[in-house]
């Protein structure tokens, strides 16, 4: 059930009606049943596996709160969560080796027989489960003693598929003290849903579908300026895809009076990478900060001086490599994470002697330069996120030709043969230049971002005049309708995690 589908809309409406009609004490059960149904539609087998993992976390949480054998229970919890992640998510990595071993022992297996399907949302839940156990261990929160509450925390359907990664304490409080949904909350929630749908359906889906099929497999075939344009397209596709998804589910959750963490805050306007990771996948980067970066920094700082290279390099690097591994157990994801770690290390070094100036107080030229550099380096890092390592090197190597003026001049010459991707070559002059369609979609994305940058609080939308709201809504609805006629929906890029 795609969250931009009519089926999902119908499901939400039905759940809303039930939720708002039943007595307060029943509301969370309505959400739980709806979440169970939502998950079962994808796969009832996965629902069982997921629920068992949730139950393990719940039971271990209770044990942890008893103060006996805490270390044992904590490590058991970590082991169960990480093992389940490895077993399900990284099956592609180890199943071929298992198959080879079995075949050596003369045990034949079919390709399907050794297939293990990743329960949807497991990657996100594992992080939430572990943070729950860490928090109990550190006595930050009491253990949840009522399994339906915890089950709902695990399965809550708006955040189930792709986050945000909520903290158990904050979430449980909300479901046990339902907020009243008033007209203002309704307005904000619907605005989020519309904005999210525009980002996902009007911007992300077309950008994703127009990417040539071989741009991330055979980049050397592309002229450097066209390759750069497609990289830009990918960067905006993945951003709008995920940010759009988060907006929609925050809006949906708002209709139930439950507020979910903001996950994106105009990341491409960040002026350095510290700021970037405060704006991109915020719930996940906060998780990494609280459970990996800070504990590791604390341990190292107690042993070594702040300027010691270990202190400077290890915490950001380790944190970002873990981030890469969470996305995928393969070398190119480690490179992606490592790159972001490296960016943060490099940024950190001048701060040991230069006076620190907050980004907003820096001279305008520094802010612009910082923003452009951060944006450019973030785009480059998307290559290993998307492509394997050999292709990544080839891609970057091809991009360096942007500085080779003779090659660039030849590539944009009207009579040049230019490869356009997906087995197409240019027949008309206009295709020698970067595809105009990319910019037709990036510009609205930037306009939305500019508005959001100036008005970080979505609630400011309530202050618009009715006509302004009507124009925005009409244009959004028309754009959504027109794009829905153009192509089938693409799945969320992050939904595979």
């Amino acid at each position: 059930m795609a969250i931009t589908s009519l089926a999902f809309a119908g499901f939400v409406i039905a759940t809303l009606v039930a939720y708002h009609l039943v007595p307060s004490t029943w509301k969370k059960y309505v959400l739980l049943i709806a979440s169970l149904v939502f998950y079962a539609v994808f796969s009832w087998q996965s629902l069982i596996a997921f629920s068992l993992i949730a139950l393990s976390n719940f039971l271990i949480g209770i044990q942890l709160s008893k103060e006996q054998n805490k270390t044992f229970w904590l490590w058991l919890g970590i082991l169960i969560n990480i093992t389940s992640l490895i077993v399900f998510k990284y099956a592609d990595f180890y199943l071929p080796q298992v198959k080879a071993v079995l075949e050596n022992a003369n045990i034949q297996t079919s390709a399907d027989g050794l297939k293990i399907l990743l329960p949807i949302g497991l990657s996100f839940f594992v992080m939430q489960g572990m943070s729950y156990l860490f928090d109990i261990n550190k006595k930050r929160i009491p253990a949840i003693k009522y399994f339906p509450d915890f089950w709902l925390f695990a399965l809550y359907f708006p955040k189930l598929l792709s986050g945000p990664m909520e903290r158990a304490g904050r979430f449980i409080k909300q479901i046990n003290q339902p907020q009243i949904v008033d007209t203002k909350t309704l307005e904000t929630s619907l605005a989020l849903i519309v904005m999210g749908t525009v980002r996902k359906m009007v911007l992300a889906d077309p950008l994703t579908s127009m990417l040539p099929s071989d741009v991330f497999t055979d980049p050397e075939k592309f002229a450097p300026h066209l390759l750069a344009a497609w990289l830009l397209a990918y960067g905006f596709a993945i951003y709008n895809d995920f940010a759009g998804y988060t907006n929609i589910i925050r809006g949906v959750s708002g209709l139930f009076g439950i507020s979910l963490t903001q996950n994106f805050n105009v990341p491409y306007f960040a002026r350095d990478f510290t700021e970037f990771w405060q704006r991109w996948h915020i719930s996940f980067s906060n998780w990494l900060r609280d459970y990996i970066f800070y504990p590791l920094t604390r341990v190292l700082r107690r042993k070594f001086d702040r300027k010691n290279p270990l202190n400077v390099i290890l915490p950001p690097f380790t944190t970002m490599v873990v981030s890469g591994l969470w996305h995928g157990l393969n070398p190119h994801m480690i490179v992606w994470g490592g790159l972001h770690g490296l960016y943060q290390v490099i940024e950190r070094i001048p701060s040991f002697w230069r006076p620190t100036i907050p980004p907003a107080k820096r001279p305008k030229w520094r802010q612009w330069l910082g923003g452009l550099v951060t944006f450019g380096m973030a785009m480059l890092a998307w290559v290993p996120f998307r492509a394997d390592l050999p292709t990544t090197w080839a891609f970057w190597k091809q991009l360096t030709l942007l500085f080779n003026i003779p090659i660039l001049k030849k590539a944009i010459h009207p009579r040049s043969f230019v490869y356009l991707g997906s087995e197409q070559s240019n027949l008309y002059r206009i295709w020698s230049f970067p595809d105009l369609r990319i910019f037709i979609l990036i510009i609205p994305s930037l306009l939305i971002d500019i508005w959001q940058y100036r008005h970080p609080d979505i609630n400011t939308i309530r202050d618009w005049s009715q006509w302004a709201k009507a124009i925005a809504l009409a244009m959004s609805l028309l754009a959504i309708y027109l794009v829905s006629l153009a192509s089938p929906q693409a799945p969320f890029i992050y939904q595979g995690f």
């Binding site: 939720y19 708002h20 009609l21 007595p23 307060s24 509301k27 339902p178 907020q179 009243i180 949904v181 008033d182 007209t183 309704l186 889906d205 077309p206 579908s209 127009m210 990417l211 040539p212 099929s213 009076g257 356009l420 991707g421 997906s422 087995e423 197409q424 240019n426 027949l427 008309y428 295709w431 595809d435 369609r437 009715q466 006509w467 709201k469 009507a470 124009i471 809504l473 009409a474 244009m475 609805l477 028309l478 027109l482 794009v483 006629l485 153009a486 192509s487």
Partner: protein, 353 residues
């Protein structure tokens, strides 16, 4: 004012925002409609689309222009790509004029992939809209096999505009039929695809190649027509499998009867002069051909139409682009032949424009 109040819900809505949004939508749609109806250059911009297939769109656009320029149309030719590149109406008009002294307005509405089954719907729609006095359908053996399932069969069967024009109302069908803005947008509906550049280049080429009479010459010349079908070749294998056990399917004959049943119209069914080597795809060529030709002739006769056989039409090998299609050398021969047949029908009084 709508008020909803429960323990967890306290909302009051006036509906003003909805009304204002509707108003803005109407204004926006009006603006788009105005822009869409501007005189865009027809050789550069895709033809307005009904959302099915771009060749249909070009044909409909050409037909509308033809009718406007010639104040109507007398003869419309239907069929698949065999018709689309096999009959040049300009030649037919000239030969008919020379043979009868009478002007004849002929348009070729053949569409790639439009075998008999989807053609029945298309014939009905076009005939209702443009009121020709004579319908010509170019037919061949594959039209009558139930295993001919490719081409436009599925897209036409599920198309909202086709359904709307045949009397099955849907909001989408209505919008497509009435809104130029929608038609203009649909003509670009592939803009999100990765192969859009190739598609757009191909479209521009077809826009130039398809004449104002709806005809498009095929410039290819067949290599070796008499070579036997190759079972290792995907296309050959598909046809060998499909027609090995050829039978004329009753439901396809019903489609022929639908075409023949256009009220107050004369209908001519003309046999496509495929190359003799095309019969190599059929399990029992001679028997299969006899079954086909006998059934068609009888059906056409029963329904008051005219069947034109091309058994005596000799087209040299150089006039074929493959075993089924005529090229730019073969099409004029077929066109002249058909024109002479029409002259004969005119002279015998069977058909008057």
């Amino acid at each position: 004012m709508l008020k909803l109040s429960t323990k967890s819900l306290e909302i009051s809505l006036t509906g003003k925002l909805v009304l204002k949004t509707l108003f803005v939508l109407i204004v926006l749609i009006g603006l788009l409609e105005g822009v869409a109806r501007l005189p865009w250059p027809t050789d550069r911009i895709p033809a307005p689309s009904m959302g099915t297939y771009y060749i249909i769109d070009i044909e409909l656009s050409r037909l509308a222009d033809y009718v406007q320029e010639n104040d109507g149309v007398d003869v419309i030719i239907f069929g698949s790509s065999l018709a689309h590149s096999g009959l040049d109406p300009e030649i037919i008009e000239n030969v008919f004029q020379q043979g009868t002294g009478q002007n004849l307005r002929v348009f070729n509405c053949g569409v790639t992939g439009m075998s008999l089954l989807p053609a029945t719907s298309f014939v009905k729609i076009i005939t209702q809209s443009y009121n020709p006095t004579l319908i010509i359908h170019v037919t061949e053996m594959r039209d009558y096999s139930s295993l001919t399932t490719g081409g436009l069969i599925h897209s036409v069967a599920n198309d909202p505009w086709f359904h709307y024009k045949l009397g099955k109302f849907s909001p989408k069908g209505w919008i497509i039929d009435h809104s130029m803005a929608m038609q203009r947008y649909l003509s670009f509906r592939f803009w999100v695809r990765d192969d859009f550049p190739a598609w757009y280049s191909l479209l521009q080429k077809r826009l130039v190649d398809i004449t104002p009479w709806g005809f498009e010459a095929d410039r290819r010349v067949a290599d070796d027509l008499n070579a036997s079908p190759d079972p290792n070749n995907e296309k050959d294998k598909y046809m060998l499998d499909a027609y090995e056990d050829y039978q004329v399917a009753p439901e396809r004959v019903e489609s022929l009867k639908d075409v023949l049943s256009q009220p107050d119209k004369k209908v001519v069914i003309v046999e496509m002069p495929v190359h003799s080597a095309a019969l190599q795809y059929f399990g029992d060529p001679s028997e299969d051909y006899q079954e086909y030709i006998t059934t068609i002739e009888q059906t056409v006769q029963d329904y008051g139409g005219k069947f034109i056989s091309t058994a005596n039409l000799n087209i040299p090998n150089i006039g074929y682009s493959n075993k089924f299609h005529l090229n730019q050398d073969g099409a004029p021969l077929f066109s002249e032949f058909l024109a002479q047949e029409l002259v004969h029908l005119y002279n015998t009084g069977w058909y008057q424009p």
